[in-house]
Structure formats: C-alpha cells, structure tokens
C-alpha cells in the first residue's frame, strides 16, 4: 500500500505562494540564508542600541530621555525576538553573540559611526531607522512565517522611533539658525550612510538575489533604496534640508532616482569591522558579557536546584490541576 507523501518541498510551497513554517523540512540553503539575514537584522538592532546608549544619560529633556530609553528597550526587544527565532532554527544564542563580538557576523553600517551630537540621535532615529524600516516592512511578507510575524511588531514599534526622530528634526528645522545649521551638517554626514545602508546593487550581490528568489527577502536592495528615496525626499524638502548629492535627481525616463554611486570601498571597510566606533562598541559589549557571566551561571544553577527538588517531590511535576 502506498500512502501519499504529504510533505511539499520548499520550492513547491513557494510556487504555491505558501508560507514556510517552523515544522517544515528546510533545505540547508534556505536555513543558512534565513539565519544569515535574521542574525544581521538582530545584530543591527543590538548594535544600534549600543550607538544610542551613549546619549541616554545626556538626553536633553525629561521627555527625550524617556523616549530614548523606551526606544532602546524596543531595539533590545527586537534583537531578543530575532535571536530567539534563530535559536528555534537550531542556532545557539551564546554562539551568535560570540560570533558578533568576533566580527564574524555583521551589522548595519550606520552603527559603526560615532554619534557625537544630539542631532545624530535624531537623525539615526529618523533617517536610519527610516531606512531600516523599508527592509523591515518588506520582511512582513517574507516567506518564513515566524519572521514575518515578528516583523509586524517590529514595524509597529519602529513607527514610534521614526516619530520620535522626526520630532527632534522638526525642533531643529524650526529652531535657531545654529540648530538649522547643525541639522544640515548632520544630514550631510548621514545621507551617504543611509544610501549605502541598503547594500550593494542587486547585480553585484549574488546572495541578495538568491534571497529574493527564495522569498526570504521580498524586495531587492535597489527596490528598497528607491522606495526610501520616494519616502524621504519629500520629507527632507519639507524641512528645507538639502540633499547633499549634486547628482541626485528623479529620472523621468528611467522612472527612478539617480544618485552618485556610493563609496563601496568605504562601505566594505566599515562593515568588516573597521568603522571609527566598531571595536570600541564591541569591546564594551564583550566586557558586559564577561562581567555578567556569573549572573547567567547562577540562573542555570538555580534551575538545576529547582529541577532536582521537583524530582524529589514526586507528583508535583507539570501538573495543571
């Protein structure tokens, strides 16, 4: 007797426009590419918070401080949810953190740079979270269901981050001349980084292309970059901010924005761990990880004690009634 095989391959499911779930048999390629992007987005959330933490003590008002703490709480929460997702796919959290600290897995280019001024914090939240949001929003349609579900909450919370950033931008854009100058100087610094944030063009990135084919990444790097311009160019103009790229314009014939090709050499140098702040931030995280190792060890020991005592009190295990 032949029982019909009920299991579809990933390709079959994708062809049926089905969502992939945890119990499905995943190919190594799918799992590796998926875990790769999850680790990248998780690392970016985590290191983004590292960039902003320096300003938590110094946030210039009561309201700003509360918003900044809340924002960073969200970012750590996003990192937690995404690392946990990779754990459910068989990765080990401690190994993922170790690999981040060793520079073996990357994170967003923006978080390798210093945030020396308060306006940098506004711009990170408005322009860079805004860039990340293009990717996160598209990931709500990723082929991997559990990742898509997390992205729905992530996007809801990122919307608040962008509003918080824009509130700071508006304060500067409508403030004193000194503030307006600081704002423009800030955009001059962060604009090229935002353009690069989306990564290499599709024709240059084999991996990105494959992720699009497998539905892991619903939109390509270039699509996301163009979408970002669509959203942010009007916003920048609204605040009288100049786009610091003399070759930037909308090409009616090609129906897309044209811009100066980013300095990919700088990009590669930065994201491979040689940014001005990369090592300092990773060192801080390493120290924190080591200094709190005893806490995690105590948690484990407590759990073992508790399990041991549960087994001696027979009958009290896992009962609901």
């Amino acid at each position: 007797m032949h029982i019909e095989e009920n299991t579809l391959s990933i390709e079959d499911r994708l062809a049926n426009e089905e969502i992939i779930e945890l119990g499905d048999p995943l190919t190594d390629e799918y799992r590796d590419l998926l875990c790769g992007i999850i680790q990248f987005t998780a690392n970016s959330e985590f290191m983004g918070a590292f960039t902003e933490r320096e300003w938590i003590p110094r946030a210039p008002s009561y309201q700003r401080k509360l918003a900044l703490i809340a924002k960073n709480q969200d970012e750590i929460g996003h990192a937690q949810m995404q690392y946990q997702l990779a754990e459910n796919l068989g990765r080990d959290r401690e190994e993922m953190l170790t690999s981040l600290l060793a520079g073996n897995t990357g994170f967003g280019n923006a978080f390798h740079y210093p945030a020396d001024e308060w306006i940098d914090i506004g711009l990170l939240a408005w322009m860079l979270d805004g860039a990340a949001m293009q990717l996160q929003h598209s990931l709500m349609d990723t082929s991997y269901g559990p990742y898509a579900r997390i992205m729905r909450r992530v996007c809801r919370e990122e919307e608040f981050h962008i509003r918080h950033g824009e509130h700071i931008i508006r304060e500067y854009a409508t403030g004193s001349r000194a503030k307006r100058e600081r704002l423009q100087a800030g955009v001059d610094r962060w604009w090229p980084r935002a353009v690069m944030f989306f990564g290499l063009s599709d024709d240059q990135s084999e991996k990105s292309k494959r992720m699009v084919e497998l539905g892991i990444k619903p939109k390509s790097n270039d699509e996301l970059r163009q979408q970002y311009f669509d959203t942010y160019v009007p916003k920048l103009r609204k605040y009288d901010i100049e786009i610091p790229d003399e070759n930037f314009y909308y090409d009616d014939a090609a129906e897309k924005w044209q811009y100066t090709a980013p300095d990919w050499e700088e990009f590669n140098t930065i994201v491979s761990g040689n940014g001005p702040k990369t090592q300092q931030r990773l060192d801080r995280r390493r120290t924190a990880f080591e200094d709190t190792a005893w806490v995690r060890e105590a948690m484990v020991a407590y759990n073992e004690d508790e399990k041991a005592s549960r087994f001696t009190n027979s009958g009290s295990i896992n009962t609901i009634n």
Binding site: N88, R93, M299, E304
Partner: protein
C-alpha cells in the same frame, strides 16, 4: 555554554477578556517564575495583557509537517452549513 541549560519558554498572552491566549514571544529564563516576570516586561508593553501563560518550549508536543493524520481525508460535506444551502435542503 551557560545558555544551553537555560530554558526557552513560550509566552501566551490574553490581550482581552473574552479572547483566547495567543502565542506572542519566546523568552529564555532560568525557571517558570522568572520566565513569567520577564514576560511581563518583554511582551508588547504598549498594550495591557489580561493574563500571561508561560510554558517550557520542550514541554510542547507538536505535529510534524508530514503528519498524514492531521485531518480526516474523506469529505465530510454533510457537516457544513454550505452543503445544505447548495442542495436547497433536498436529500
């Protein structure tokens, strides 16, 4: 490798009275009590949960993707309201 012996807990939140608990996040904790405490501040804190359940991930039984017994295979159209509408109630 301390994390290996910490446990993952699935967190289920009832967001509104009258609704069922819904799977929300997973937290890693030492034990059930701490998992509950952590869950209180790790779920979406912009909404107010009515109740939270946590459960060790390894205590959950799950079906596999190739489980052929998930649903009966023979059509049970007579259990659906629509069948009666289509046939106009005739036997």
């Amino acid at each position: 490798m301390t994390d290996n012996t910490m446990q993952a807990f699935e967190v289920f939140v009832q967001w509104q009275r009258g609704e069922s608990h819904k799977h929300t996040i997973t937290v890693t904790a030492s034990d059930t009590k701490m998992a509950l405490s952590l869950a209180k501040r790790n779920v979406d804190v912009r909404n107010e949960p009515v109740s939270i359940w946590v459960m060790p991930q390894n205590a959950i039984g799950r079906t596999t993707a190739d489980d052929a017994t998930l649903t009966p295979t023979i059509d049970r159209e007579y259990r659906n309201v629509s069948w009666y509408a289509e046939t106009g109630g005739s036997p």
